[in-house]
Symmetry: C2
Subunit: 230 residues, 2 copies
DNA sequence: TTGACAATATTGTAGGACAATATTTTATAA
DNA sequence: TTATAAAATATTGTCCTACAATATTGTCAA
Protein backbone atom coordinates (compact mmCIF):
# COMPACT_ATOMS: atom_id res chain seq x y z
CA UNK A 1 0.00 0.00 0.00
CA UNK A 2 2.69 2.42 -0.97
CA UNK A 3 0.68 5.51 -1.65
CA UNK A 4 3.06 7.37 -3.88
CA UNK A 5 2.01 10.71 -2.61
CA UNK A 6 5.35 12.18 -1.81
CA UNK A 7 5.87 12.57 -5.53
CA UNK A 8 5.72 16.29 -5.69
CA UNK A 9 9.18 16.25 -7.23
CA UNK A 10 8.22 18.47 -10.11
CA UNK A 11 9.77 21.67 -8.87
CA UNK A 12 9.36 23.49 -12.13
CA UNK A 13 10.64 26.98 -11.58
CA UNK A 14 8.16 29.50 -10.38
CA UNK A 15 4.91 28.62 -8.70
CA UNK A 16 5.63 26.18 -5.95
CA UNK A 17 2.62 27.33 -3.98
CA UNK A 18 0.04 25.49 -6.07
CA UNK A 19 2.11 22.33 -6.00
CA UNK A 20 2.32 22.42 -2.23
CA UNK A 21 -1.38 23.16 -2.00
CA UNK A 22 -2.09 20.13 -4.21
CA UNK A 23 0.12 18.01 -2.03
CA UNK A 24 -1.64 19.08 1.14
CA UNK A 25 -5.07 18.76 -0.42
CA UNK A 26 -4.33 15.18 -1.40
CA UNK A 27 -2.84 14.43 1.99
CA UNK A 28 -5.96 15.73 3.72
CA UNK A 29 -8.25 13.85 1.38
CA UNK A 30 -6.52 10.54 1.82
CA UNK A 31 -6.41 10.93 5.57
CA UNK A 32 -2.71 11.41 6.14
CA UNK A 33 -3.57 14.73 7.75
CA UNK A 34 -6.66 14.21 9.87
CA UNK A 35 -9.29 16.84 10.66
CA UNK A 36 -8.20 18.81 13.68
CA UNK A 37 -4.52 18.14 13.08
CA UNK A 38 -2.19 21.09 13.21
CA UNK A 39 0.11 21.82 10.29
CA UNK A 40 3.51 23.12 11.36
CA UNK A 41 5.31 25.34 8.88
CA UNK A 42 8.73 24.13 9.89
CA UNK A 43 7.81 20.48 9.43
CA UNK A 44 6.53 21.09 5.93
CA UNK A 45 9.48 23.20 4.88
CA UNK A 46 11.80 20.32 5.69
CA UNK A 47 9.47 17.63 4.37
CA UNK A 48 9.00 19.36 1.03
CA UNK A 49 12.34 21.16 0.99
CA UNK A 50 10.95 24.60 0.33
CA UNK A 51 11.10 27.80 2.35
CA UNK A 52 8.37 29.15 4.56
CA UNK A 53 7.04 31.54 1.94
CA UNK A 54 5.52 29.01 -0.44
CA UNK A 55 4.19 26.97 2.47
CA UNK A 56 2.39 29.98 3.86
CA UNK A 57 1.02 30.75 0.42
CA UNK A 58 -0.33 27.24 0.13
CA UNK A 59 -1.95 27.69 3.55
CA UNK A 60 -3.74 30.83 2.35
CA UNK A 61 -4.98 28.99 -0.66
CA UNK A 62 -6.34 26.07 1.30
CA UNK A 63 -7.84 28.34 3.94
CA UNK A 64 -9.74 30.17 1.23
CA UNK A 65 -11.01 26.83 -0.02
CA UNK A 66 -12.15 26.08 3.49
CA UNK A 67 -10.00 22.99 3.81
CA UNK A 68 -7.94 24.35 6.67
CA UNK A 69 -8.38 27.09 9.24
CA UNK A 70 -5.85 29.76 10.09
CA UNK A 71 -5.83 30.73 13.72
CA UNK A 72 -3.77 33.83 14.54
CA UNK A 73 -0.45 32.92 16.09
CA UNK A 74 -1.40 29.28 16.00
CA UNK A 75 -1.17 28.61 12.32
CA UNK A 76 -3.00 26.09 10.21
CA UNK A 77 -5.35 23.37 11.40
CA UNK A 78 -7.13 20.87 9.19
CA UNK A 79 -10.73 21.96 9.34
CA UNK A 80 -13.23 19.83 11.15
CA UNK A 81 -16.86 20.45 10.44
CA UNK A 82 -19.51 20.57 13.12
CA UNK A 83 -22.76 18.78 12.43
CA UNK A 84 -24.46 22.14 11.94
CA UNK A 85 -21.87 23.26 9.42
CA UNK A 86 -22.11 20.00 7.54
CA UNK A 87 -25.90 20.22 7.35
CA UNK A 88 -25.77 23.84 6.29
CA UNK A 89 -23.35 22.93 3.53
CA UNK A 90 -25.71 20.19 2.44
CA UNK A 91 -28.58 22.62 2.25
CA UNK A 92 -26.64 24.97 0.00
CA UNK A 93 -25.20 22.14 -2.03
CA UNK A 94 -28.65 20.76 -2.67
CA UNK A 95 -29.64 23.93 -4.51
CA UNK A 96 -26.47 23.97 -6.57
CA UNK A 97 -26.77 20.30 -7.48
CA UNK A 98 -30.43 20.72 -8.32
CA UNK A 99 -29.53 23.54 -10.68
CA UNK A 100 -26.74 21.43 -12.17
CA UNK A 101 -29.01 18.42 -12.67
CA UNK A 102 -31.60 20.57 -14.42
CA UNK A 103 -29.08 22.16 -16.72
CA UNK A 104 -27.32 18.87 -17.41
CA UNK A 105 -30.57 17.25 -18.44
CA UNK A 106 -31.18 20.17 -20.77
CA UNK A 107 -27.74 19.80 -22.29
CA UNK A 108 -27.98 16.12 -23.12
CA UNK A 109 -29.14 16.93 -26.63
CA UNK A 110 -25.68 18.22 -27.38
CA UNK A 111 -23.79 15.13 -28.56
CA UNK A 112 -20.41 16.25 -27.27
CA UNK A 113 -21.66 17.06 -23.79
CA UNK A 114 -23.62 13.82 -23.71
CA UNK A 115 -20.67 11.72 -24.81
CA UNK A 116 -18.42 13.25 -22.22
CA UNK A 117 -20.98 12.79 -19.48
CA UNK A 118 -21.55 9.14 -20.42
CA UNK A 119 -17.82 8.54 -20.40
CA UNK A 120 -17.29 10.19 -17.02
CA UNK A 121 -20.06 8.31 -15.24
CA UNK A 122 -19.54 4.98 -17.02
CA UNK A 123 -18.39 3.16 -13.93
CA UNK A 124 -21.65 3.65 -12.04
CA UNK A 125 -23.28 0.98 -14.20
CA UNK A 126 -20.98 -1.57 -12.65
CA UNK A 127 -23.24 -3.61 -10.35
CA UNK A 128 -20.53 -5.32 -8.38
CA UNK A 129 -20.05 -4.11 -4.81
CA UNK A 130 -17.26 -1.58 -4.40
CA UNK A 131 -14.00 -2.85 -3.01
CA UNK A 132 -13.14 -0.04 -0.66
CA UNK A 133 -14.69 2.95 1.02
CA UNK A 134 -12.12 5.24 -0.53
CA UNK A 135 -12.95 3.85 -3.94
CA UNK A 136 -16.60 4.73 -3.43
CA UNK A 137 -15.69 8.19 -2.20
CA UNK A 138 -13.63 8.86 -5.30
CA UNK A 139 -16.40 7.52 -7.53
CA UNK A 140 -18.97 9.64 -5.74
CA UNK A 141 -16.89 12.74 -6.25
CA UNK A 142 -16.44 11.97 -9.93
CA UNK A 143 -20.16 11.42 -10.38
CA UNK A 144 -21.20 14.69 -8.85
CA UNK A 145 -18.50 16.61 -10.63
CA UNK A 146 -19.56 15.06 -13.95
CA UNK A 147 -23.02 16.54 -13.45
CA UNK A 148 -21.51 19.91 -12.60
CA UNK A 149 -19.41 19.79 -15.75
CA UNK A 150 -22.32 18.78 -17.96
CA UNK A 151 -24.30 21.73 -16.62
CA UNK A 152 -21.95 23.95 -18.59
CA UNK A 153 -21.68 26.73 -16.04
CA UNK A 154 -18.03 27.41 -15.29
CA UNK A 155 -18.76 29.44 -12.16
CA UNK A 156 -20.94 26.68 -10.78
CA UNK A 157 -18.05 24.24 -11.03
CA UNK A 158 -15.73 26.56 -9.17
CA UNK A 159 -18.20 27.25 -6.40
CA UNK A 160 -19.06 23.62 -5.98
CA UNK A 161 -15.41 22.89 -5.32
CA UNK A 162 -15.66 25.10 -2.27
CA UNK A 163 -18.47 23.05 -0.82
CA UNK A 164 -16.15 20.83 1.16
CA UNK A 165 -17.65 17.59 0.02
CA UNK A 166 -14.19 16.14 0.46
CA UNK A 167 -14.06 17.22 4.07
CA UNK A 168 -17.47 15.82 4.84
CA UNK A 169 -16.63 12.55 3.18
CA UNK A 170 -13.33 12.31 5.02
CA UNK A 171 -15.13 12.78 8.30
CA UNK A 172 -17.94 10.31 7.71
CA UNK A 173 -15.95 7.77 5.72
CA UNK A 174 -15.34 5.56 8.73
CA UNK A 175 -19.08 5.22 9.33
CA UNK A 176 -19.97 4.19 5.80
CA UNK A 177 -21.47 0.72 5.59
CA UNK A 178 -21.78 -1.38 2.48
CA UNK A 179 -25.57 -1.10 2.37
CA UNK A 180 -25.42 2.67 2.59
CA UNK A 181 -22.92 2.67 -0.25
CA UNK A 182 -25.09 0.33 -2.30
CA UNK A 183 -28.17 2.51 -1.77
CA UNK A 184 -26.23 5.59 -2.77
CA UNK A 185 -24.98 3.94 -5.93
CA UNK A 186 -28.51 2.92 -6.87
CA UNK A 187 -29.60 6.54 -6.46
CA UNK A 188 -26.76 7.63 -8.71
CA UNK A 189 -28.23 5.36 -11.36
CA UNK A 190 -31.67 6.93 -11.03
CA UNK A 191 -30.22 10.42 -11.34
CA UNK A 192 -28.08 9.51 -14.33
CA UNK A 193 -30.98 7.92 -16.18
CA UNK A 194 -33.15 11.00 -15.67
CA UNK A 195 -30.40 13.26 -16.97
CA UNK A 196 -29.73 11.03 -19.97
CA UNK A 197 -33.47 11.08 -20.69
CA UNK A 198 -33.27 14.90 -20.74
CA UNK A 199 -35.90 14.92 -18.03
CA UNK A 200 -34.96 17.96 -15.98
CA UNK A 201 -37.76 17.67 -13.44
CA UNK A 202 -37.10 14.02 -12.72
CA UNK A 203 -33.36 14.70 -12.47
CA UNK A 204 -33.89 17.50 -10.00
CA UNK A 205 -36.24 15.45 -7.86
CA UNK A 206 -33.88 12.49 -7.88
CA UNK A 207 -30.85 14.46 -6.83
CA UNK A 208 -32.78 16.28 -4.11
CA UNK A 209 -33.89 12.92 -2.74
CA UNK A 210 -30.34 11.66 -2.94
CA UNK A 211 -28.92 14.56 -0.96
CA UNK A 212 -31.80 14.51 1.48
CA UNK A 213 -31.11 10.86 2.26
CA UNK A 214 -27.41 11.61 2.63
CA UNK A 215 -28.25 14.37 5.09
CA UNK A 216 -30.48 12.02 7.07
CA UNK A 217 -27.66 9.52 7.22
CA UNK A 218 -25.36 12.19 8.51
CA UNK A 219 -27.79 13.21 11.22
CA UNK A 220 -27.83 9.63 12.46
CA UNK A 221 -24.11 9.54 12.95
CA UNK A 222 -22.32 9.54 16.29
CA UNK A 223 -21.56 12.99 17.57
CA UNK A 224 -17.87 12.43 17.97
CA UNK A 225 -17.46 12.37 14.20
CA UNK A 226 -18.07 16.10 14.18
CA UNK A 227 -16.43 19.02 15.84
CA UNK A 228 -18.11 20.09 19.02
CA UNK A 229 -20.45 23.02 18.44
CA UNK A 230 -19.01 26.12 19.97
CA UNK B 1 -15.37 64.09 -1.85
CA UNK B 2 -12.36 63.08 0.17
CA UNK B 3 -12.82 59.36 0.50
CA UNK B 4 -10.83 58.71 3.61
CA UNK B 5 -9.84 55.25 2.57
CA UNK B 6 -6.15 55.41 3.24
CA UNK B 7 -7.01 54.99 6.89
CA UNK B 8 -5.63 51.55 7.44
CA UNK B 9 -3.43 52.97 10.18
CA UNK B 10 -4.29 50.26 12.66
CA UNK B 11 -1.13 48.18 12.46
CA UNK B 12 -1.94 46.10 15.49
CA UNK B 13 0.75 43.51 15.89
CA UNK B 14 0.23 40.26 14.11
CA UNK B 15 -2.10 39.81 11.20
CA UNK B 16 -1.43 42.55 8.73
CA UNK B 17 -2.56 40.38 5.84
CA UNK B 18 -6.28 40.74 6.58
CA UNK B 19 -5.94 44.48 7.00
CA UNK B 20 -4.23 44.84 3.65
CA UNK B 21 -6.81 42.58 2.05
CA UNK B 22 -9.58 44.77 3.48
CA UNK B 23 -7.86 47.84 2.16
CA UNK B 24 -7.54 46.41 -1.34
CA UNK B 25 -11.07 45.06 -1.29
CA UNK B 26 -12.43 48.49 -0.45
CA UNK B 27 -10.22 50.15 -3.04
CA UNK B 28 -11.47 47.79 -5.72
CA UNK B 29 -15.06 48.24 -4.67
CA UNK B 30 -14.96 51.99 -4.71
CA UNK B 31 -13.20 52.07 -8.04
CA UNK B 32 -9.77 53.29 -7.04
CA UNK B 33 -8.37 50.12 -8.53
CA UNK B 34 -10.25 49.45 -11.73
CA UNK B 35 -10.93 46.02 -13.24
CA UNK B 36 -7.98 45.02 -15.39
CA UNK B 37 -5.54 47.14 -13.45
CA UNK B 38 -2.32 45.55 -12.36
CA UNK B 39 -1.30 45.61 -8.71
CA UNK B 40 2.44 46.02 -8.21
CA UNK B 41 3.86 44.60 -5.01
CA UNK B 42 6.50 47.28 -4.68
CA UNK B 43 3.97 50.10 -5.01
CA UNK B 44 1.81 48.66 -2.28
CA UNK B 45 4.69 47.99 0.07
CA UNK B 46 5.61 51.67 -0.03
CA UNK B 47 2.02 52.90 -0.03
CA UNK B 48 1.05 50.83 2.98
CA UNK B 49 4.49 50.69 4.55
CA UNK B 50 4.65 46.93 4.94
CA UNK B 51 6.97 44.37 3.43
CA UNK B 52 6.24 42.15 0.46
CA UNK B 53 5.21 39.18 2.59
CA UNK B 54 1.92 40.54 3.91
CA UNK B 55 1.11 42.07 0.53
CA UNK B 56 1.55 38.70 -1.15
CA UNK B 57 -0.60 37.11 1.51
CA UNK B 58 -3.35 39.62 0.88
CA UNK B 59 -3.08 38.84 -2.84
CA UNK B 60 -3.61 35.14 -2.15
CA UNK B 61 -6.61 35.93 -0.06
CA UNK B 62 -8.23 38.13 -2.68
CA UNK B 63 -7.39 35.72 -5.46
CA UNK B 64 -9.20 32.99 -3.57
CA UNK B 65 -12.19 35.29 -3.25
CA UNK B 66 -12.05 35.82 -6.97
CA UNK B 67 -11.53 39.55 -6.71
CA UNK B 68 -8.13 39.50 -8.37
CA UNK B 69 -6.29 37.09 -10.62
CA UNK B 70 -2.75 35.88 -10.14
CA UNK B 71 -0.83 35.36 -13.34
CA UNK B 72 2.50 33.55 -12.92
CA UNK B 73 5.42 35.94 -13.07
CA UNK B 74 3.06 38.78 -13.77
CA UNK B 75 1.46 39.19 -10.41
CA UNK B 76 -1.96 40.42 -9.47
CA UNK B 77 -4.57 41.95 -11.74
CA UNK B 78 -7.99 43.20 -10.67
CA UNK B 79 -10.39 40.69 -12.12
CA UNK B 80 -12.63 41.72 -14.94
CA UNK B 81 -15.62 39.54 -15.66
CA UNK B 82 -16.72 38.58 -19.13
CA UNK B 83 -20.41 38.78 -19.91
CA UNK B 84 -20.60 34.99 -19.82
CA UNK B 85 -18.96 34.82 -16.41
CA UNK B 86 -21.26 37.50 -15.07
CA UNK B 87 -24.36 35.71 -16.36
CA UNK B 88 -23.15 32.39 -15.01
CA UNK B 89 -22.61 33.98 -11.63
CA UNK B 90 -26.11 35.39 -11.78
CA UNK B 91 -27.55 31.99 -12.50
CA UNK B 92 -25.85 30.46 -9.48
CA UNK B 93 -26.63 33.44 -7.31
CA UNK B 94 -30.28 33.20 -8.19
CA UNK B 95 -30.52 29.75 -6.61
CA UNK B 96 -28.67 30.85 -3.49
CA UNK B 97 -30.80 33.96 -3.09
CA UNK B 98 -33.97 31.99 -3.69
CA UNK B 99 -32.98 29.62 -0.93
CA UNK B 100 -32.13 32.55 1.31
CA UNK B 101 -35.44 34.29 0.64
CA UNK B 102 -37.38 31.10 1.44
CA UNK B 103 -35.52 30.51 4.66
CA UNK B 104 -35.71 34.16 5.69
CA UNK B 105 -39.47 34.19 5.24
CA UNK B 106 -39.65 31.09 7.40
CA UNK B 107 -37.54 32.72 10.09
CA UNK B 108 -39.61 35.89 10.44
CA UNK B 109 -41.58 34.38 13.28
CA UNK B 110 -38.49 34.55 15.43
CA UNK B 111 -38.66 38.03 16.98
CA UNK B 112 -34.93 38.53 17.19
CA UNK B 113 -34.28 37.59 13.56
CA UNK B 114 -37.19 39.71 12.46
CA UNK B 115 -36.07 42.74 14.43
CA UNK B 116 -32.58 42.53 13.07
CA UNK B 117 -33.83 42.12 9.51
CA UNK B 118 -36.16 45.11 9.84
CA UNK B 119 -33.33 47.19 11.22
CA UNK B 120 -30.90 46.21 8.46
CA UNK B 121 -33.28 46.93 5.59
CA UNK B 122 -34.89 49.99 7.15
CA UNK B 123 -33.52 52.40 4.59
CA UNK B 124 -35.28 50.77 1.63
CA UNK B 125 -38.56 52.33 2.77
CA UNK B 126 -37.12 55.73 2.02
CA UNK B 127 -38.94 56.86 -1.13
CA UNK B 128 -36.64 59.69 -2.05
CA UNK B 129 -34.35 59.14 -5.03
CA UNK B 130 -30.87 58.02 -4.10
CA UNK B 131 -28.16 60.64 -4.21
CA UNK B 132 -25.39 58.67 -5.82
CA UNK B 133 -24.80 55.45 -7.69
CA UNK B 134 -22.31 54.30 -5.10
CA UNK B 135 -24.91 54.92 -2.41
CA UNK B 136 -27.35 52.66 -4.21
CA UNK B 137 -24.67 50.00 -4.69
CA UNK B 138 -23.92 49.98 -0.99
CA UNK B 139 -27.61 49.84 -0.13
CA UNK B 140 -28.15 47.02 -2.59
CA UNK B 141 -25.34 45.01 -1.04
CA UNK B 142 -26.71 45.58 2.44
CA UNK B 143 -30.18 44.49 1.36
CA UNK B 144 -29.08 41.23 -0.17
CA UNK B 145 -26.75 40.47 2.70
CA UNK B 146 -29.56 41.13 5.19
CA UNK B 147 -31.59 38.39 3.52
CA UNK B 148 -28.61 36.05 3.62
CA UNK B 149 -28.16 36.76 7.31
CA UNK B 150 -31.84 36.27 8.12
CA UNK B 151 -31.73 32.88 6.39
CA UNK B 152 -29.64 31.67 9.30
CA UNK B 153 -27.28 29.48 7.31
CA UNK B 154 -23.69 30.44 8.08
CA UNK B 155 -22.25 28.59 5.13
CA UNK B 156 -24.64 30.30 2.76
CA UNK B 157 -23.37 33.67 3.89
CA UNK B 158 -19.78 32.70 3.29
CA UNK B 159 -20.45 31.29 -0.13
CA UNK B 160 -22.50 34.27 -1.17
CA UNK B 161 -19.54 36.49 -0.43
CA UNK B 162 -17.66 34.64 -3.14
CA UNK B 163 -20.25 35.48 -5.74
CA UNK B 164 -18.49 38.65 -6.82
CA UNK B 165 -21.55 40.82 -6.64
CA UNK B 166 -19.16 43.65 -5.85
CA UNK B 167 -17.17 43.04 -9.02
CA UNK B 168 -20.27 42.94 -11.16
CA UNK B 169 -21.59 46.12 -9.60
CA UNK B 170 -18.26 47.86 -10.03
CA UNK B 171 -18.27 47.00 -13.70
CA UNK B 172 -21.83 48.03 -14.46
CA UNK B 173 -22.01 50.98 -12.09
CA UNK B 174 -21.26 53.50 -14.80
CA UNK B 175 -24.24 52.31 -16.83
CA UNK B 176 -26.77 52.56 -14.04
CA UNK B 177 -29.52 55.07 -14.71
CA UNK B 178 -31.84 56.56 -12.15
CA UNK B 179 -34.90 54.74 -13.50
CA UNK B 180 -33.12 51.40 -13.33
CA UNK B 181 -32.17 52.17 -9.75
CA UNK B 182 -35.71 53.21 -8.92
CA UNK B 183 -37.14 50.02 -10.42
CA UNK B 184 -34.65 47.94 -8.49
CA UNK B 185 -35.53 49.67 -5.23
CA UNK B 186 -39.22 49.04 -5.84
CA UNK B 187 -38.45 45.35 -6.32
CA UNK B 188 -36.53 45.34 -3.07
CA UNK B 189 -39.71 46.54 -1.39
CA UNK B 190 -41.76 43.74 -2.90
CA UNK B 191 -39.24 41.14 -1.75
CA UNK B 192 -39.01 42.60 1.74
CA UNK B 193 -42.78 42.67 2.19
CA UNK B 194 -43.09 39.04 1.14
CA UNK B 195 -40.40 38.01 3.60
CA UNK B 196 -41.93 40.04 6.42
CA UNK B 197 -45.27 38.39 5.65
CA UNK B 198 -43.54 35.01 6.10
CA UNK B 199 -44.67 34.16 2.59
CA UNK B 200 -41.83 31.95 1.33
CA UNK B 201 -43.28 31.29 -2.11
CA UNK B 202 -43.96 34.93 -2.82
CA UNK B 203 -40.51 35.90 -1.55
CA UNK B 204 -38.82 33.35 -3.78
CA UNK B 205 -40.78 34.43 -6.83
CA UNK B 206 -40.07 38.07 -6.15
CA UNK B 207 -36.34 37.62 -5.78
CA UNK B 208 -36.13 35.42 -8.87
CA UNK B 209 -37.90 38.12 -10.84
CA UNK B 210 -35.58 40.72 -9.39
CA UNK B 211 -32.46 38.87 -10.40
CA UNK B 212 -33.90 37.94 -13.76
CA UNK B 213 -34.52 41.58 -14.53
CA UNK B 214 -31.04 42.48 -13.38
CA UNK B 215 -29.62 39.85 -15.72
CA UNK B 216 -31.66 41.22 -18.60
CA UNK B 217 -30.33 44.67 -17.87
CA UNK B 218 -26.81 43.31 -17.93
CA UNK B 219 -27.33 41.63 -21.27
CA UNK B 220 -28.39 44.96 -22.73
CA UNK B 221 -25.17 46.65 -21.73
CA UNK B 222 -22.39 47.69 -24.10
CA UNK B 223 -19.83 45.01 -24.67
CA UNK B 224 -16.87 47.08 -23.64
CA UNK B 225 -18.04 46.96 -20.04
CA UNK B 226 -17.00 43.33 -19.93
CA UNK B 227 -13.77 41.51 -20.55
CA UNK B 228 -13.49 40.14 -24.02
CA UNK B 229 -14.43 36.45 -24.14
CA UNK B 230 -11.35 34.41 -24.66
C1' DT C 1 8.05 49.65 -39.66
C1' DT C 2 9.61 45.37 -38.10
C1' DG C 3 12.51 42.06 -35.74
C1' DA C 4 16.33 40.85 -32.78
C1' DC C 5 18.73 41.99 -28.93
C1' DA C 6 19.90 44.35 -24.59
C1' DA C 7 18.36 46.76 -20.45
C1' DT C 8 15.12 47.12 -16.96
C1' DA C 9 11.26 45.81 -14.02
C1' DT C 10 8.83 42.50 -11.49
C1' DT C 11 7.88 38.28 -9.49
C1' DG C 12 9.14 33.79 -7.03
C1' DT C 13 11.89 31.88 -3.75
C1' DA C 14 15.51 31.35 -0.19
C1' DG C 15 17.42 32.24 4.26
C1' DG C 16 18.26 34.76 8.32
C1' DA C 17 16.57 37.59 11.91
C1' DC C 18 13.56 39.14 15.57
C1' DA C 19 9.30 40.38 18.22
C1' DA C 20 4.80 38.67 19.64
C1' DT C 21 2.17 35.08 21.07
C1' DA C 22 1.22 30.08 22.48
C1' DT C 23 2.52 26.01 24.56
C1' DT C 24 5.05 23.22 27.54
C1' DT C 25 7.97 22.50 31.35
C1' DT C 26 9.69 23.51 35.74
C1' DA C 27 9.60 25.45 40.15
C1' DT C 28 7.10 26.98 44.02
C1' DA C 29 3.35 27.28 47.37
C1' DA C 30 -0.77 25.34 49.45
C1' DT D 1 0.27 15.58 46.19
C1' DT D 2 -1.99 19.04 43.73
C1' DA D 3 -2.55 23.58 42.08
C1' DT D 4 -0.65 27.78 40.67
C1' DA D 5 2.98 30.80 38.92
C1' DA D 6 7.08 31.52 36.45
C1' DA D 7 10.46 30.31 33.12
C1' DA D 8 11.81 27.95 28.96
C1' DT D 9 10.68 26.59 24.54
C1' DA D 10 8.11 26.42 20.20
C1' DT D 11 5.71 28.63 16.64
C1' DT D 12 3.96 32.23 14.07
C1' DG D 13 4.01 36.97 11.85
C1' DT D 14 6.81 40.15 9.89
C1' DC D 15 10.89 42.33 7.94
C1' DC D 16 15.07 42.37 5.30
C1' DT D 17 18.36 41.20 1.78
C1' DA D 18 19.56 38.61 -2.04
C1' DC D 19 19.24 36.38 -6.37
C1' DA D 20 17.38 33.60 -10.26
C1' DA D 21 13.55 33.34 -13.53
C1' DT D 22 10.48 35.58 -16.26
C1' DA D 23 8.18 39.57 -18.38
C1' DT D 24 8.22 44.14 -20.19
C1' DT D 25 10.26 47.92 -22.27
C1' DG D 26 13.62 50.31 -24.96
C1' DT D 27 17.15 50.45 -28.68
C1' DC D 28 19.20 49.61 -32.84
C1' DA D 29 19.81 47.73 -37.38
C1' DA D 30 17.75 45.86 -41.56
Amino acid sequence: MTTTLAVITAPRPGQKGPGIADYLRAAIRNGRFAPGQRLIEADLTSELDVSRGPVREAFRRLAAEGLIELVPNRGAVVRRLSMTEALELFEVRTELEALAARRSAGNMKDPHTRARFEREIAQIWDDRPRLSTSGYIAENRRFHSAIMTAAGNGQLIKIDELMQLSLIMAQISSSLTSDVVAASLAEHGTIARAILDSDADRAETAIRDHLSRAADFMKSMPENVFRHER
